[in-house]
Symmetry: C2
Subunit: 203 residues, 2 copies
Amino acid sequence: MTTDFCKKPRRSPRERIIEAARDLFRRNGIRGTGVDAIADAADSNKMTLYRHFNSKDELIVECLYRAGMEMDGFWQELEEAHPGDGLMQLRTWVRSLAAHLDDDSCHCEMMSAAVQLTDEDHPGRSLIRTFKDAQRDRVVALCHKAGIADAELLTDTLLLLIEGARATQKSSGVMGPSARFAEIADAAILSFAKGDIGIGRRA
Amino acid sequence: MTTDFCKKPRRSPRERIIEAARDLFRRNGIRGTGVDAIADAADSNKMTLYRHFNSKDELIVECLYRAGMEMDGFWQELEEAHPGDGLMQLRTWVRSLAAHLDDDSCHCEMMSAAVQLTDEDHPGRSLIRTFKDAQRDRVVALCHKAGIADAELLTDTLLLLIEGARATQKSSGVMGPSARFAEIADAAILSFAKGDIGIGRRA
DNA sequence: CGAAAATGTTACTGGTCGGTAACAGGGCCG
DNA sequence: CGGCCCTGTTACCGACCAGTAACATTTTCG
């Protein structure tokens, strides 16, 4: 029996493949990543990959699903951290997103996929759409709970700022407009919370 | 001599190739578009393409350059339409961008390219960066001329909203948050113009 | 242990990719 | 006219792509 004191129980090939795929998709793009490279990075092989996923597209969908689940988990953490305090959840959400804009590993898998999956019928597109709609509903509910008058308007304002921050970070770098995202978004939240019915528009 | 009453002087192969490339890049993505398809769509051939561009990457850069030039031309039109009136130029700019969010042919070539050109050293990336920096400077100058107190902050707010609207339109559709972009952005401009020093924050 | 299930290895297919060589027209201008 | 430059055509290259078949190995678990 060999010493196994440093043997970490390796995750299943399936998990390794998904994780490797997400990483490569982020770094090299979806179309720029071949299944061979994924299998290799996962320390597995192409056959095992195709035993778990009928096609590369199916793997793409699974990756997007995981990304969505992670976001759902984050929403849950926010609720547990500030139970019932919608305003605090909103502000913490924004602050946390802003923290990810500093490094280059921007986790905008949904947006990236939306740009790269040009086929209108790609199954990943409906998943993205469903996730985004659900996220919008959730933020609207949170705004309502926070006592925001026009919850939908603040929601759309924040969603535009967030996606804009992610996109701008990719094109203008970390010192571009996205550097002031936290400041701008938080000001918007506080403005609406104070009774405004739009950016700087008093009721 | 044949009747040439309907003979439109065809543009040069070079122009046709660039135009076809931009169209295909928009519709099928950069990596999803092959040079054969470009040459075919341009009603030309691959050899002529490679006589004008040493590589596909060089063609990509030219396409991005054209996109930037078109934007520059639009800024010029704005100045001519509302000479000296920075505030009006800003608002018209926003309104015009919003008008393009309704159809699916969203002209976010820069953002799309920034996502798809994953190679950090791709020559297109520096072009995008330079263009975005110049655009930011221009908007800042316009805000100053419009008498905005914190010109930089309004600029970054607008840039985030704009890029966010484009990105959101691709992931959430035309009925998503981008549908209210014009309303949100115009409110931000008016808020800053009224003396606010941030979204809803009075001096 | 022993069998079944999961995983790994090698080699292969047909197709597409970016890019090139050799050659054949075609319009323009002296 | 005759030469020249631009354009078009065909065929090809090596590399990579997604996906599969056949077989060997390891892991899991009754």
